[in-house]
């Protein structure tokens, strides 16, 4: 960790307002000209249970959560204090301290709510403080909030204390509070904020060096999650129909869409299950709307069947898959990338789909737009694959990313003229015509005169009737499969679509996909600064796979480390499967403990593999050879 950054962790119980407080504070930091990246850690529980949000803020670009953190605001878990008779909560009350100290850096700052937390109960607290040179400030945040009427405002008190300790002006925070609240509640919060700020300034002697970094943005910034990126990409592509069933973390996209679509003349449907959700999106798309659905692991499993239906009927369909740790229900609120193969290959038969895996909020926006374009132009299912980390984490992003014209084009649709022509030439419209250059045969929309056809999940002939004729079968399969090649060609026309990060001629490579992008890029910077020669490629086009570019990347390096949040090296297997070689060059760095990678872990993973120098013992990561040991 460098000195010019703040990594602020606010810890408490689920339901204690950690999320909203951190959102506001992150915005205030962004408004002060800093780059911001947030990481949300929470249990699968509504109220109570240890939760924290980390905000990393710096003048330099921040692409990951960073390593450890340097400022802890420990609020206490208010819900742990009043357990129901039958509930087992254990010693959760002090968790905001006990669960977080391991990752707090040397010389870091601790502010804890002495109204709720007792450091006497924390094992070896004083020794650890001394050992690590921590600067501890105990404040009765609860008492302070209570004085102004509402105990819940202790998060506001904590933010006021933070600002005082870091030498931060209150104006940006106050502005944001004025936007979010009004009346008595606003007044009370402003009072608490100022009270905490002033009492820290007057009553405490500061022992720490940490100050708020200063920065300035070249462009206007917005604080956006990957889920916002996806939802906004869909909206700008003219998606006005969404159907879904709540499931963490997919619910984020579903909620954002539902909160916006009806006001934009769109439709959102919360339905009985995920099979229905995907089937509704197919129905709406068939009827002439741009539609989307999505889910997470188990819910997406249910969509396997409609996914194939969309493919064989050639109904455009966009699905979102937000991965969480599996198998089965797994860890609902923790990120992993283990649904990769599930998403690439689910559904019966030789089925095809397009899969994009964006790496940050801006890519979520861009690639969702691309997914819609491809799905509607080529009449094929397109999936946007991301994970819990990108779903809930917010990052400051250039506002200009979203300044793109809308594209409500439905893609390959016949016109009235086409239909008249078809009637003259062939006697009727051939929905699934055999001869087409790119595998795409134009579709009609119910209600178009002369366009009627049968869309069938059974194999069908060129007019849409069910057919088991062997020649027709081969023609239709080949035509549908040809789409992926056409799509690969179209994607390749954009020469820089899988950009290489770092020096082109580097000796070593790191490969990743999806949300590990940022942490890998930071690692590459750090390794090159330390005298290594490393480059990285974050692959976002997973299907069709950019074979040429990944081959070029791998041919030039001695070895490559494939960094992924899976236990079975699915991404590495995908690369080997697609390219058919490079087994001897590929090593995996795997993490599947429910937490995203930190740069230090990837640096150590690299050094351990290349130099045999680093010890991975203290991390939950594992190196694995592609060829076995």
């Amino acid at each position: 960790m460098t000195d010019d950054e703040l990594i602020w962790r606010i810890a408490g119980g689920s339901g204690d307002g950690i999320d909203s407080t951190s959102q506001n504070f992150a915005k205030a930091l962004m408004r002060s000209g800093l780059n911001v990246f947030t990481h949300r850690h929470y249990p699968s529980r509504i109220r109570g249970g240890h939760t924290y949000v980390e905000i990393r803020a710096s003048d330099h670009e921040v692409k990951s959560r960073g390593d450890g953190y340097n400022f802890l605001l420990a609020l206490g878990d208010s819900f742990a204090r009043n357990p129901q008779e039958e509930a087992y909560y254990g010693n959760e009350e002090i968790k905001p301290l006990t669960e977080n100290l391991d990752e707090l850096r040397e010389g870091g700052v601790i502010v804890y709510d002495s109204g709720l937390l007792d450091t006497e109960e924390v094992e070896n607290f004083d020794e650890r403080v001394e050992e690590n040179n921590w600067n501890v400030y105990d404040l009765d945040l609860r008492g302070l909030a209570k004085e102004h009427g509402r105990e819940i405002m202790r998060n506001t008190a904590g933010v006021g204390a933070t600002a005082a300790l870091l030498g931060m002006e209150l104006d940006k925070i106050e502005e944001l509070m004025q936007n979010a609240m009004s009346g008595d509640i606003l007044e009370a919060n402003l009072d608490v904020l100022e009270d905490a700020y002033e009492s820290v300034q007057s009553d405490y002697e500061f022992t720490h060096d940490l100050q708020i970094p200063t920065g300035e943005h070249e462009e206007d910034q917005v604080l956006i999650s990957g889920s916002h990126g996806i939802a906004y990409g869909a909206i700008d592509e003219g998606c006005r129909f969404i159907s879904g069933y709540p499931m963490t973390p997919w619910t984020d996209v579903f909620t954002i869409m539902t909160q916006n679509l009806p006001d934009m003349g769109g439709i959102s449907e919360q339905v009985e299950d995920e099979i229905a959700a995907a089937s509704l999106a197919i129905g709406a798309s068939h009827a002439g709307a741009k539609a989307m659905s999505g889910s997470s692991g188990g819910g997406f499993a249910l969509m396997s069947e409609p996914l194939g239906l969309a493919e064989i009927t050639e109904t455009p369909l966009v699905l979102v898959e937000s991965m969480r740790a599996g198998p089965s229900t797994g860890m609902p609120t923790k990120p992993e990338q283990g649904d990769l193969e599930h998403v690439l290959y689910t559904s019966q038969g030789d089925s095809n789909r397009v899969v994009f895996a964006p790496g940050d909020a801006a890519e979520c926006y861009e690639q969702t737009r691309k997914a819609f374009e491809i799905a509607y132009n080529y009449q094929i299912p397109a999936i946007v694959l991301y994970d819990q980390k990108l779903s809930g984490g917010h990052q400051s992003t250039d506002e200009s990313v979203f300044d793109e014209e809308p594209n409500p084009d439905l893609g390959s649709i016949v016109t009235e003229d086409d239909l008249e022509e078809a009637a003259k030439e062939a006697g009727r419209f051939k929905r699934y015509m055999y001869d087409s250059d790119d595998g795409v045969s134009k579709r009609s929309i119910p209600g178009q005169k002369g366009g009627n056809f049968l869309a069938s999940g059974n194999e069908h002939n060129e007019v849409g009737h069910i057919s088991e004729d062997p020649d027709n079968r081969v023609i239709q399969m080949d035509r549908r499969m040809a789409k992926l090649d056409s799509i690969r060609e179209e994607l390749n026309e954009n020469t820089d679509h899988q950009p290489v990060y770092g020096p082109e001629d580097a000796q070593y490579g790191i490969l990743s996909f999806g949300s590990t992008k940022g942490v890998v890029e930071e690692t590459v910077d750090r390794l090159n600064d330390d005298g290594h020669s490393v480059k990285a490629m974050n692959v976002s086009d997973l299907m069709p796979f950019p074979k040429g570019e990944v081959t070029d990347f791998l041919e030039d390096v001695d070895e490559a480390l494939v960094v992924e949040m899976t236990a079975t090296a699915q991404f590495r297997r995908h690369i080997q499967g697609q390219l058919g070689r490079f087994g001897e060059k590929l090593y995996s760095l795997l993490k599947y403990d429910g937490n995203p990678f930190e740069p230090e872990e990837v640096v150590s993973g690299f050094e351990s593999r290349i130099e045999g120098s680093a010890d991975l013992g203290e991390y939950n990561v594992r190196i694995e050879s592609a060829t076995g040991d």
Binding site: I224, E272, I275, G447
Partner: protein, 311 residues
């Protein structure tokens, strides 16, 4: 709107227009009750004033699913049990379409039972025909959700220990606003009921008794069918939920004892359809969503305008 130039077209409609130009691949056996559904549906369409191109017929899988192959319209032959979710979204996206969904007793009451319950609950404006022959036909004669208790088949060799589902009661309690039962052997009644169902503004559920001459020779095609409206023995108020429920219970009990009661069992003209409710709450546009995409002058709202809350 020129994009949907067949919707609302006023002209004389001939039932033969609903016959496909080509012979579909034969699935239905000679003597199959499904032909009766097809015939009744073709007869009802001109009565409702709908042409093939403004009609969307969504089917599931199985013999019943092949209805869309034998019927000329816009068709969507979906997957087992899933006709309803496909159909209701199409109707929401373009309410101008006449949407009919169809499935079998396995498809509709078994694998698709959950969708049935929820589509009825929401009262989507569509017609749902369930081909009820008390057997899985296309997979060669397994016990279905409407097979009688004790029914023996390859999958229930000792006879089924399960009581059959009660389709009419299920439709009513789930929220269907038009519930009827008709039969392939009653073509005139079937046509009338289908016509009413399509004209009904809400979810119309028709339990359509069909005979399976191959796998279910016990099916009740030879017993007398009684129309509850035509018979003096049955007096109930079709708009009264309680009386309708009582009548349904009687019909469902009697069915497996050889007395087949058909006709309309429940009609609720008061409750608005789901799309009307959704439009009232501002959750759905007044004009068809699908039309937007063909309107060059429509101003599409952009996400850029939503960014203020993220600054």
């Amino acid at each position: 709107m020129s994009a949907f130039n067949a919707i609302g077209e006023e002209r004389e409609i001939d039932r033969d227009e609903f016959t496909p130009e080509i012979e579909p691949q034969a699935t239905w056996c000679p003597g199959c009750g499904d032909f009766g559904v097809l015939k009744a549906l073709k007869q009802a369409m001109p009565e409702v004033g709908r042409n093939p191109e403004e009609t969307l017929l969504v089917t599931g899988i199985g013999c019943s699913g092949k209805l869309s192959s034998y019927f000329r319209s816009y068709g969507f032959h979906s997957i087992h049990g899933r006709s309803l979710p496909v159909a209701r979204a199409a109707k929401l996206a373009n309410p101008g379409l006449e949407v009919v969904a169809a499935g079998g007793d396995g498809d509709g009451y078994g694998i698709g039972g959950n969708h049935f319950m929820h589509t009825a609950r929401e009262n989507h404006d569509m017609t749902y025909i369930v081909f009820d022959n008390e057997i899985f036909g296309l997979t060669k004669g397994q016990t279905s959700p409407t097979s009688p208790k004790g029914h023996k088949s390859k999958t229930q060799p000792h006879g089924s220990a399960k009581s059959p589902i009660r389709p009419l009661s299920l439709g009513l309690t789930s929220g269907a606003t038009y519930v009827a039962r008709t039969a392939a052997v009653n073509p005139n009644q079937a046509k009338e009921i289908l016509t009413e169902a399509m004209e009904h503004d809400g979810f119309a559920h028709i339990d359509f008794l069909t005979q399976c001459p191959t796998w279910n020779k016990d099916a009740k095609q030879y017993v007398p069918y009684i129309d509850v409206q035509d018979s003096d023995d049955y007096d109930f108020d079709i708009h009264n939920r309680g009386e309708a429920a009582e009548m349904m219970r009687e019909a469902e009990d009697a069915l497996y004892e050889g007395e087949v009661l058909t006709g309309r069992f429940y009609v609720d003209d008061e409750r608005p359809s789901y799309q009307q409710e959704k439009q009232q709450t501002g959750d759905m546009p007044e004009e068809p969503l699908a039309e937007r995409y063909f309107d060059d002058d429509y101003e599409w709202e952009r996400s850029y305008d939503l960014l203020d809350r993220h600054k």
